[in-house]
Amino acid sequence: MQACTSEPADGRLPVTLLTGDPGADTARVAAQVLGADPDAVVVVPGFTPEELLGTGCQVIEIDPEVADLEEGCSCCRVRFDLITVLHRLAARRHRVRRVVVQLDSDADAATAVQTMLGDSDLRRRCALDAVVHVVDVAASLSMLPAGHHPTHTSAEALALADHVVLNGANGLSAAAMGEVRRSLRHRAPQAALAASPHAATHAIDSPHRAWSLPATERRLLSAHDTHLAEGGNSVVRWMTLGLPGALDPDRLQDWIHDLNHQSGPDLLKVEAVFAVDDEPTRWVALGVRSTLELADGTPWKGHTRSSSIRLVGRGLDPVAVRDRLVDCLVV
């Protein structure tokens, strides 16, 4: 396996995916986040929204185009328009410092992420920094506490997000905001909540890529999960699991294979740090749907061995996942 113990300064073009609830004014957030950065490029679906006109950013309009890599297989889809446009932008690096790709509210965010992670040619040139989701707090307030979400696609985008921007929160009472935050925490505990686009800017400008193996390892090691936890809503569920002990490598590979093949289309995100028997380093995994990257992490150096996993997906059965993984433990 390839080692992932450090985050290389690899010169790849950083890309942020920007998703949003319907009516969440995602374009305005993009304009506010990027300011007047002439070296920033915003890729928008369809026509350039008014909010981005005159901002000083470069705007590229695209027609979303989904292609199947396997006929009829929903987990083998890629966004061909992203491959094309990001390839072009990566070729002219001197005028492009970063790229924000705005997705339609009905776009499948997981397919966009899978394109960034799964297309080897694109990965050599571009790196997925973060997924930012914009929630229109005022408009969604009535739905949020009940656990509903405007659409299935935006519920999935929220579950994938590294940062959530609470837009339109002006004038809300502290109690209402607290309720919204609690609701979002329950459905997207992994995401950093930003009360304004400017707060999100700092998070997005962080030198650490959220979608990298070192960042995955840091996140899971700092979570200190020691038990099974789960949450979400009727559309998307998440689970975290801490599992003390060492895993048998062959049985673990079978578990990963079964997870990919049985649940691949429904898996939105897989993050894991595995403690594998007789391995001097942690194994770190990051993936979306059936695209999964697995590499060596940091050395154990005498630490007590324990695995941590976090899954997000549709129709997850956390207990079954845990039981199957427990079967991989070396007795």
Partner: protein, 356 residues
Amino acid sequence: MTNATTQLAESVRDVAWIGDTRSLAVGGADGEVRVLSPTATSAGPRSDGAGHEWEVRHSLPRDLTPAVSRLAADIHGRLAIGSDCGTVRIVDPTWNWTEYRTREPISSLVWLRTFDPHASGARLAIAAGHDVHVIDAHGRTLISETYRRGSVTCLEWLHPNTLATGGHGGVTFIGLNGPATGPAPQHEPIPDLLSPGVVLSMHLDQHGNRLTVADLRGEVRITDLRTGDELSVDGLGDRARGACWWAGGQLLAIAADDELSIWRSCPDDLEPEPIVLGPIPGPSAGPVATHLGHRLAVGDQNGVVWIIEKARPHVPVPVASVDAEITTVAWSPDDSLLAIGAANGQLLLVPTHARA
């Protein structure tokens, strides 16, 4: 490292040899287009290594042209410059130009190869987003159609009245009316070649019989245009970015993201068999065969350019290296020079006749 003949500010996107002369156009991601030609037989910093000094004869400044996406030159000295902003500029040998506008970035530009010296015989096929255009040398529209299944990535003239368009969902054939400047079609109209993936490149063998289509899923399909028979080449691990018939149609080179492979086939046979798998990891430019088909050039992601001889397909020979990914390679009309463009903006000219 090999010395650069010229240096652009950003990545070299494409090169094109103009007409049957030794003039070379190079276009960059910064929008600059330069035309170079040899001046005298003296060695210098811009020498091609065979004793010829090259200098920039013409230059389109960056503020006139958006990022160059494609270059194409016909045998009468006309240069077509496609841009990421959807414009196509046709520059004639006296450096006058006419402009044609489309709505999307130009993904492919292909001149119909015709020996009619008059402009009326010229046909330039343009792929831009979901649209296919065919224009004449004056920028007049002959055809403008929308490809129904998605974006168009590549074009290939099968003969003067049939254009193959490859893209999302497979290959579609477009028939053209009007004055035919070449032989009439020899086969029945070809049904679309449907594919669930996205076609990235097409290549017609020199006999015009076999159309080879490479796609995003790593599949390469060979279609016999005379019979409609079709065959898939399996065993490619990653996306297939290009394929090229060479050695008189006996050898087929396939560039996937992870490796180059070479297959042997009889010119009349569809079924190729692998003879060399993986001699070059990570091909990024080419494969491109010489006009006589004796040699093949391939550039890789590590900045090395390789030449493979027909007689020794197992032994790729490195001929140049730079410290950036190779973006394009093109043989001169007499096959004596190889133009090499790189992601760091370098353009190299390497003589290859001594290596035959």
